[in-house]
Each structure stands twice: as structure tokens, then as C-alpha cells.
Symmetry: C2
Subunit: 328 residues, 2 copies
């Protein structure tokens, strides 16, 4: 069965690739950049070029749905390149196609704060996709075949992106706020029921996450509760719109959190840095994917539903999204 994890942001290392293999993960969407600008992102791509060369037995870059299937079938993990902010595009609409040429297939519009394109979830909810650069960026991503991701955006930015995008979009890593409740550390990261419905109606997929700071119960969230959330979301929008997006990370020093939370735009994190949360006991690394799938089976999900949620839905969306508009 094809397993696709719609978001991991590790400090890339062979240990992670071995975990992917041990967990039977056929495809992982990895983050190349958050605040990195164009030039810095080129260096990150250069680092990945070396990683692909040195770990060719374990991983390969996927630019299409076909690539994902072929790489997974070869017993390796397909890596899909993505950004968690549009920073690498800087102010230049033309850089979207350039990064697409380099293999980037997914870009989140903004990470937590406001940029030229839209607003992140820490900003006021009233701010959406900007009328000029924001709409242009979405149109250009639609044209070249780059999937719009809104996981860290304001609700308004999410709704606007669904409206302006001519192709389905993704929430690669977030949870339903109504199920999780608002009493968690990073509540603003989770998504309203109306939004998840709208996303699904438009053909999009949401990747449910076991990142402790956005799960019910945090690090103590049980597999049972996580599966309750999967079931709740499937009940809401059906099994075709739900996938997995762990938001798993490993190998970073705690100081990395400051980079994610403050970039270069603040001297201190605007949100208190509480350190890395412990991953739940049932998901210590990608090796534990089989446990999650086993749990789904025990809970009564059908084989067909499990196949869709584990990877089938992402494969469908990635396959159709990574092609240029009008392409075949």
C-alpha cells in the first residue's frame, strides 16, 4: 500500500530515509524553505542534489504522480519538494516557474505571518490573499503546476485561495479545530469545519497531523484519539478528502524553533518557545506508520478507505496538480 506523508521538515539525514523505508513510506513532501530567499533556496536544492546522489538506494526526487508511483514501486521513497512560505519567490512572479523547473511542486502561501501574498494564522483573520501579487502567484502556480498549500494561513487566506485557484488546493498539515478544541498550544494552526468542507467540495485534501502542539491532548494524545479525529473528519467530508501530513521533524537544535518562529523579521519569537514537544508514544518516527494503519484497520476502516487516506488521495491530488495547466 502506498503511504504518502504530506509534510515532514527534518534536518535531512540518511537516518530519516532509513526510517521512511522501515515504515514503508512511499512518498514524503519535504520542506526546503520557510524564510529562505531565492538564493538560499538554491543552496538547499544543491544540498538535496548531493543527498539524492549519496542515498540513491533509498530516495529519489519525484516531479510527477508517475514518478511517485515508480519510485515507491522500486522500494524507495519519492521526495516531493515544497516550501512553507513564498519567500523563495521573493517579489518575482517569474521565479515560480524557475523553481518548478527545479522540482518544487508545492508551496504554502505564507507561514504564520503576513507576506506579499497573504496572511499567516498569527495575523488578523480579516486578511486574505492580496489583490495583486497574491492573486498573480496563485494564477501562476495554477499555470505551471504547483500545488497551493494553506496549512499555516488565516482562514480568510484559505477561503480566498480556494476561490481564486482554478485547481484544487491542499491543507497538507493541520487538524480540525472543532474536533481538537481550542485549548491547545497552537490553536490558530487548526482549521474550521466550514473551511474543511469548502476545501473538500473543491477537490482538495487535508493532511491530518500528529504534531503534538495541534493534537487533542498534545504529546499524550492516544492513537485512539488520533483515529477518532480521522474518523470525525471522514464523517465530515468523506474518505476522498482526508490524508496524513504528520508535520514530523527531527535532527534540529532547539534554536531552530526561533528561526521558524521569528525568521529574520523579529529579534525574538513572538510566541513563547516551549521547546520541541515529545512525539506521541505510537509515533516516534516514520517507522511507526504501520502501527497507525493497523489501528485504522482495527477500528473498522475499510481497506479501500485506508488506501485512500494513507496515500491514494494525495497521489490523486499530486498527480493532477503537478502537471502544467492544460497538460496531460
Amino acid at each position: 500500500m502506498l503511504i504518502i506523508d504530506a509534510l515532514q521538515y527534518n534536518n535531512p539525514h540518511r537516518d530519516r530515509f532509513e526510517e521512511w523505508r522501515a515504515g514503508g513510506v512511499g512518498c514524503v513532501h519535504v520542506t526546503l524553505a520557510i524564510w529562505e530567499n531565492a538564493r538560499e533556496t538554491l543552496s538547499v536544492i544543491g544540498q538535496w542534489n548531493r543527498l539524492f546522489e549519496q542515498n540513491a538506494d533509498l530516495i529519489a526526487l519525484a516531479k510527477t504522480g508517475q514518478d511517485i508511483e515508480a519510485i515507491a514501486a522500486s522500494g524507495r521513497t519519492a521526495v516531493v519538494f515544497g516550501f512553507q512560505d513564498t519567500s523563495p519567490f521573493e517579489d518575482d512572479i517569474e521565479l515560480i516557474e524557475v523553481f518548478h523547473q527545479l522540482g518544487v511542486r508545492i508551496a504554502q502561501l505564507t507561514y504564520n505571518v503576513q507576506n506579499r501574498v497573504g496572511a499567516g494564522c498569527w495575523e488578523d483573520d480579516t486578511i486574505g490573499v492580496s489583490k495583486f501579487f497574491g492573486r498573480n502567484v496563485i494564477a501562476e502556480m495554477n499555470r505551471v503546476g504547483m500545488l497551493v498549500d494553506v496549512s499555516h494561513c488565516t482562514e480568510r487566506t484559505c477561503f480566498d485561495a480556494i476561490e481564486y485557484s482554478t485547481r484544487p488546493i491542499a491543507i497538507t498539515h493541520a487538524n480540525p479545530q472543532e474536533f481538537v478544541g481550542t485549548d491547545i498550544e497552537l490553536n490558530r494552526r487548526n482549521m474550521s469545519t466550514d473551511l474543511i468542507r469548502k476545501l473538500a467540495e473543491s477537490g482538495g485534501v487535508i493532511g491530518l497531523s500528529n504534531y503534538p502542539k495541534i493534537m487533542k491532548g498534545g504529546s499524550d494524545c492516544t492513537l485512539e484519539t488520533f483515529l477518532d479525529m480521522v474518523a470525525w473528519t471522514v464523517d465530515l467530508v468523506g474518505a476522498d478528502a482526508v490524508g496524513l501530513g504528520t508535520d514530523f521533524y527531527d535532527g534540529w537544535p532547539v534554536s531552530q524553533i526561533k528561526w521558524w518562529r521569528a525568521g529574520r523579521w523579529a529579534r525574538e519569537s513572538a510566541v513563547p518557545i516551549t521547546g520541541f514537544s515529545d512525539w506521541p508514544s505510537w509515533f516516534q518516527s516514520s517507522r511507526d506508520f504501520p502501527q497507525v494503519l493497523e489501528g485504522m484497520k482495527n477500528r473498522g476502516f475499510s481497506a479501500e478507505e485506508i488506501a485512500k487516506i494513507a496515500g491514494g488521495n494525495w497521489l490523486r491530488l499530486f498527480d493532477e496538480s503537478f502537471k502544467p495547466a492544460g497538460g496531460s
Copy 2:
């Protein structure tokens, strides 16, 4: 009498500097950058270094109010460096001090569209200064001694900037919407009466502009009508809050308008490019400043009022704004 023009954006050339001298202009705030990034802006500063060297008989860089007075007293024109967008700061709060070290003393938060800091006047009026980078940028500009300019911003961004800034701010080049009326090409560039009042209450100054696209009557606006606008604004907020900011430009090809209107963020201008407007007959270049001042005198402005409006108010605001916070 010290004449200060709070905004010109010429393609820099000795001809302009000669016009400044012929018009008796003691200080001009020039634009170095709109969409230029940090690296590109360094090159623009490099070009100005050569211009100062080659035209030392006519111009010199001013970093303080004292510099402005001394350079003007020497029979030359003091040049104040400024940006019309925060693009040169890119995503880095630390670049504000770096550009201050290089002489930059004024920065407009955004030019027409949304950026990380706030929103320009083409965007929805509801978008203001962003909660994170935007407030940090204003605080840092306050700290190092860089004047906040909001001439091309949304009303909300203007009001927010006044609120968050601990020091007075500027509208270097815009006109009162209530006087000019809304039936002009670039109406969104002009400012509401409430905003101009608030700006003045907080110690700021507005630079009235004879840029045809934002004047009543456009290129046919008479000197009489322009002076009506000066009088109207002085009646509104007093003679201490009003200055001149022509928005004069010269030496650009028409294609430059596309750069200003679209930067790299759009393939075409979002606003129709109607070409450069003819400057009004009574202001063909900086040589015509004496005509404007003569008009003010004939119209009954007192010598004291004319001195304030022609340059005294800008000198006061520049002098206090260009010092580091707590500096003397």
C-alpha cells in the same frame, strides 16, 4: 529661505541638480528604491556616491537636520535618501540599521500593494500594518532614526503607523481627497480629512504634491487651484503640518511606469498606463519653485507661513526624526 521638496524621483542627472540650484531648492528627499531588493539598492547607493563625487559643486548627502542647513547654506542642495517601499529591507529587521548607516533616512512602508509590513492604497482599505514584521519595522525605524512615510499606503496602514510609531510620521507626497475630489486618475493616492487631522495632531507633516494625476484638474490644474489646496490644508491643520512634496520626476522612459506599477510581481500593470502626465505650466521643473512661493505671497500667506510650508516644517521633522531614539 530654505526650500525642501519632500519627494522627487528623477533618473538622477546633473541637469536636475542644476534645476534645483536654479530654483533655490536647499534639500530634496530622493527615492533610491521601490521594488529594489537589498543588493540592488546597494548599487543605487553606489551610483549616488559617484554622483556626489562628480557634482560636489551642486549636491551633498544629508544625514541630519544640521547637514541639511549646512549644505543649503553653502549654496548646494542637500540630498536625503529614502525608499518608497520597504523592499530593500527584504525580510530582515537588521537591514534597517544597515541602510541607516548608509544614509537612508526615510522609508515608505509600502508602495501601492501589500507587502510584509502593511498594505498599499490599491489593496482593500481594511488591511493595515502587519502585527509582527510591520510593528517590528516601525519600532526599529523609530529606534535608529528613520522617518516613517505612508504616502502610498491604505488609510488603515496610515492610521496604524501613526498609532504604533512613537515618533511623528510623514506623508511626503499626497493631497487631501476632500479638496481634490475623487474624480481623478489616481484617487486612491489621496488622503482623507480625518487622516490628515490625525497626522497633524501627532506632529507629522503632509507634503502637498503637484503631480498631475492626483491634483484637481490634472495637468490643467492652475497655480491658483494648487494654492487653494495649500490654504485649505492650512485651514484644516495649521501651517505647522503642511509642506511641499512635488513627486516630481524626469528622465525616465515611459517603460519605467510599468516598473513602478508592476515591479516583478505582475507581468502587466494592474492600472492602465496612460503615460507620463504633463507637469502644469507653472511647475515645469524645480526652477519654478520661486513662482510657487511668489504665488503664496500674493495670495496673502505670511512670510512666516511661507517659510514653514516651503521648508521649515520638513526641516523640523527631519531634524528630530533622523536622530536615534533618545539621541540629541
